[in-house]
């Protein structure tokens, strides 16, 4: 539904008012706490910060591609007619979802990657993060596909679609829309989870901020811009997802 001009104006006014209110509140909290903010010391490290941010973006972009691929493969495998394949994929999904990312990163990097003679933390970090989020995506995809009812499959059969055509023209287009909100939520998680990659020595944003904080003898100054830097990526992603959802909306 296209929003009218007055409703857009009203929303804008409210947003500004709320933003102002929240800013004042934050200001009040920061001022009344005993912490001494020292922004000058932190500002010197802005280039390091930017570098960390770009590293994070690179890893996240790579991990998103990996996670969607892994998600699709695991979903197809978990629905396979071949029992060992199905069991294996279910097992992988449950194992990955049931254990902490921290443990997976440490074991994956220091044991598995080491045994395979891989030693690029950047590459391994991207793969491990993609694998972790891919397991969640697999379940989101599976739920979406299985939510398309038997009556739609039957209708597709009745008009003469083959199995491939049924998936291509009937099931996937509808499943895509249902998977969208969950998937974007997962991709936002992926971005935030990338902060754990510091444990395998990748100098992404969080690690950079830690270095920055210790080098400049400040305690917390790095973390405020850190939150903002994450929001710069996650907010547009959420907004974009909402626009896509509207475009795919056809059920009333």
């Amino acid at each position: 539904m296209p929003a009218s001009r007055s409703s857009i104006a009203r929303r804008l006014l409210w947003s500004i008012a709320l933003l102002l209110g929240v800013s004042l509140l934050v200001q009040a909290v920061f001022q009344s706490s005993a912490y001494e903010w020292n922004w000058e010391a932190a500002w010197k490290y802005r280039q390091q910060f930017l570098f960390g941010w770009l590293t994070m973006l690179g890893i996240c972009a790579g991990a998103m591609v990996v996670s969607v691929t892994v998600g699709l493969l695991l979903m197809v495998g978990a629905r396979s007619a071949i029992e060992p394949v199905r069991l294996l994929c279910h097992g992988i999904i449950e194992f990955i979802r049931g254990t902490p990312l921290l443990v997976q990163l440490l074991i994956g990097y220091y044991i598995v990657a080491n045994a395979l003679h891989l030693n690029s933390p950047f590459l391994i970090g991207t793969l491990l993060l993609g694998l972790f989020e891919g397991a969640y995506l697999a379940e989101i995809f599976r739920g979406a596909i299985e939510s398309i009812g038997a009556s739609q499959r039957e209708a597709a059969r009745a008009v003469g679609f083959s199995t491939t055509q049924t998936y291509r023209y009937v099931i996937i287009p509808q499943a895509l829309r249902r998977a969208l909100p969950g998937s974007t939520g997962q991709l936002v998680s992926l971005i935030k989870d990338s902060s754990l990659l510091s444990v395998i020595g990748i100098e992404e944003l969080v690690q950079k901020v830690r270095i920055l904080n210790s080098a400049s003898y400040t305690g917390l100054e790095g973390y405020v811009p850190l939150a903002v830097a994450y929001l710069i990526v996650t907010l547009p992603l959420s907004l974009w997802a909402r626009r896509l959802e509207r475009r795919f909306a056809y059920e009333t």
Binding site: S151, Q152, E154, A155, A156, R157, A158, V159, G160, F161, S162, Q165, Y169, V170, P173, Q174, R177, F248, Y250, E251, T252
Partner: protein
């Protein structure tokens, strides 16, 4: 057309939806109505006739040709026939027009222009001009039902199968939809339908197959079925239906 069933059985778990259905219509049947109480096997029989299901036992012959049990052959068979579901089952992500053109293009290899022309023509004939680009959710129940009929008619099927065409419609829409089916029958379209609209079945069909408890109890010309039903179950069914009409 001539429709024959011999020993058709379909079980769901330990429940038989069809329990050895045997019947044979005359070779000049045009519109066959499947009548009978709910749960008697009408929908299941229609699905078997539509090659959407294969029977556990028995066979169906259409004009002397056996309906296939094997999936690839069933697909070929389904492509030559139209099926309209009780719940319409339009594709909700496509417009009324696309619901018709997509199978025409992808299944029947029609060109984009030809498919479009055929869909527009059919929608106009079924009174849906101006609604071509609406999605199913934007159409009323009767309009959805007519769009579903248009989709089933688009590839010029030899036989149209319809499951309870009016069960989800109010009386006005029921009238609209029945008019459409009546017109199709008058034009010579072969139809098999299951219905509870007795007056309509009486008016439009020439053959009745009466199903009860998974068995075909009677197969007779329509007029005779209504005037002198031979089975006790059919007599009770007709009496029950006429009680409040």
């Amino acid at each position: 057309m001539k429709l024959e069933a011999s020993g058709v059985t379909k079980r769901y778990g330990d429940q038989s939806a069809l329990d050895g259905v045997d019947f044979e219509t005359g070779s000049d049947a045009r519109v066959i109505a499947l009548l009978g109480p709910s749960g008697g096997g009408k929908s299941t029989l229609l699905r078997v006739l539509g090659c959407l299901m294969t029977p556990d036992e028995g066979a169906i012959h259409l004009d002397g040709r056996k309906l296939p049990n094997e999936e690839a052959e069933s697909l070929v068979e389904r492509r030559q026939n139209g099926f309209v579901f009780q719940g319409y089952n339009l594709f909700p992500h496509l417009s009324a027009l696309e619901n018709i053109t997509l199978p025409l293009r992808e299944v029947h290899q029609m060109s984009v222009g030809d498919a479009y022309a055929r869909a527009v023509e059919l929608l106009a004939r079924l009174g849906l001009s101006g609604h071509e680009h609406k999605r199913p959710a934007e159409l009323s129940g009767g309009q959805q039902q007519r769009a579903a009929i248009a989709r089933a008619l688009a590839p010029k099927p030899r036989l149209l199968r319809r499951d309870e065409p009016t069960s989800a419609l109010d009386p006005v829409m029921t009238g609209e939809v029945l008019d459409v089916i009546g017109e199709l029958a008058a034009e010579g379209q072969h139809i098999v339908l299951s219905t509870h609209e007795i007056a309509f079945a009486r008016q439009v069909s020439d053959t009745v197959v009466f199903l009860s408890h998974g068995k075909a109890l009677e197969t007779t010309p329509t007029q005779r079925f209504f005037e002198e039903p031979t089975s006790e179950a059919a007599r009770q069914y007709l009496q029950g239906l006429s009680k409040y009409r």
